[in-house]
């Protein structure tokens, strides 16, 4: 009887160790919550992919709506948005200056006319998800931290490449430059970065 109990205890311990080992292989180390995608860690490939991701995220089409202050940026030179509209608590503006008052569900025709999207907004005041002035190291760390990325799991982060507002960066209306690569190339780099471990480039 005593011998059976000892054998059972050893077997249970081994199962526990195996389960722990698998979870550290399959889950991103920086992220809590559900993760289901397969991670095949490769820090060199991951950092290389993030170089491409970073170029897109720091382009005006992405960064202009991830400002360091509470006023969005505008134009290819990322100047402060004309009229100085404010973020507001939900990221959709304040009082008579809400984003959707000018930004329609679709692009307005005409050079530099307001670009459109049904969900036009900045990140909310309680999670600003700033891109402006971030180094590649800082931005990579921020993107995988649910407390700084809009409470996204790694799975949701992967899916975010096809978010409507992200896609609108490649449909930005007349007079605005495109991000530095196609959406398909960006998505490939984004997925590679995450699926190889979402490593952050070294801080400089």
């Amino acid at each position: 009887m005593k011998r059976s109990i000892i054998i059972m205890a050893v077997i249970l311990s081994m199962i526990g160790i195996m389960a722990f080992s698998l979870s550290t292989v399959n889950n991103h180390p920086n992220v809590t919550g559900e993760t289901t995608q397969k991670i095949k860690k490769d820090s060199i490939a991951s950092v290389k992919a993030f170089e491409q991701v970073y170029k897109v995220l720091m382009s005006p089409r992405c960064m202009n709506c991830h400002p360091s202050g509470d006023i969005p940026l505008q134009g290819d030179d990322s100047h402060l948005h004309e009229m100085y509209p404010k973020r507001g608590h939900d990221g959709k503006g304040v009082f008579a200056m809400k984003c959707a008052n000018c930004h329609q569900p679709n692009n307005t025709p005409g050079l530099h006319a307001p670009p459109g999207n049904p969900d036009w907004h900045l990140p909310p005041a309680d999670m600003k998800m700033v891109f402006q002035s971030k180094t590649a190291h800082e931005l990579a760390k921020q993107l995988v931290n649910p407390k700084q990325n809009g409470n996204k799991s790694m799975k949701q982060l992967l899916e975010h490449a096809d978010d409507g507002l992200v896609l609108s960066g490649w449909n930005s209306g007349e007079g605005r430059s495109q991000p530095p690569m196609s959406h398909a190339a960006f998505k490939k780099a984004w997925e590679t970065w995450i699926n190889t471990g979402a490593y952050a480039p070294k801080s400089k």
Partner: protein, 157 residues
Amino acid sequence: MINLNINQKSYEVDADPDMPLLWAIRDLVGLTGTKYGCGVAQCGACVVHLNGEAVRSCVTKVSRAEGKKVVTIEGLSKNNDHPLQLAWNEVNVPQCGYCHSGQLMSAAVLLRENPNPTDEDIDNAMSGNICRCGTYPRIRKAIHLAAELHKKEGRTI
């Protein structure tokens, strides 16, 4: 045909769905209080309320207004007695007056959402409404006065 509800009245207009709401309001319905300024959402002269929000009617397609409530300057009050209109009159705000229907419609959204605004709130709400005559100090003064009228006399905003 497109059905519009403007100032609590129904209108059926023969318009392309992409026509700017401003054109439908002015040219098809005949309410000319709302003004055309820049045509690209830069000046605020054309602001009307769409389900209570201060949209720029020059870039808002008429199809976006279907099934929603539009209020223009003509519908802001029944007897031109909205606290803002009384305050505008009292303070003698307009100079040329061209931008002021837009100014009033934007200010009305501010007061509805914040009946006791600070100077900073007013600046944040009104920064998209340009006045070429530079009546900004009087606009700010009149908004404060309208807030007082609402508070002391219970005037509806």
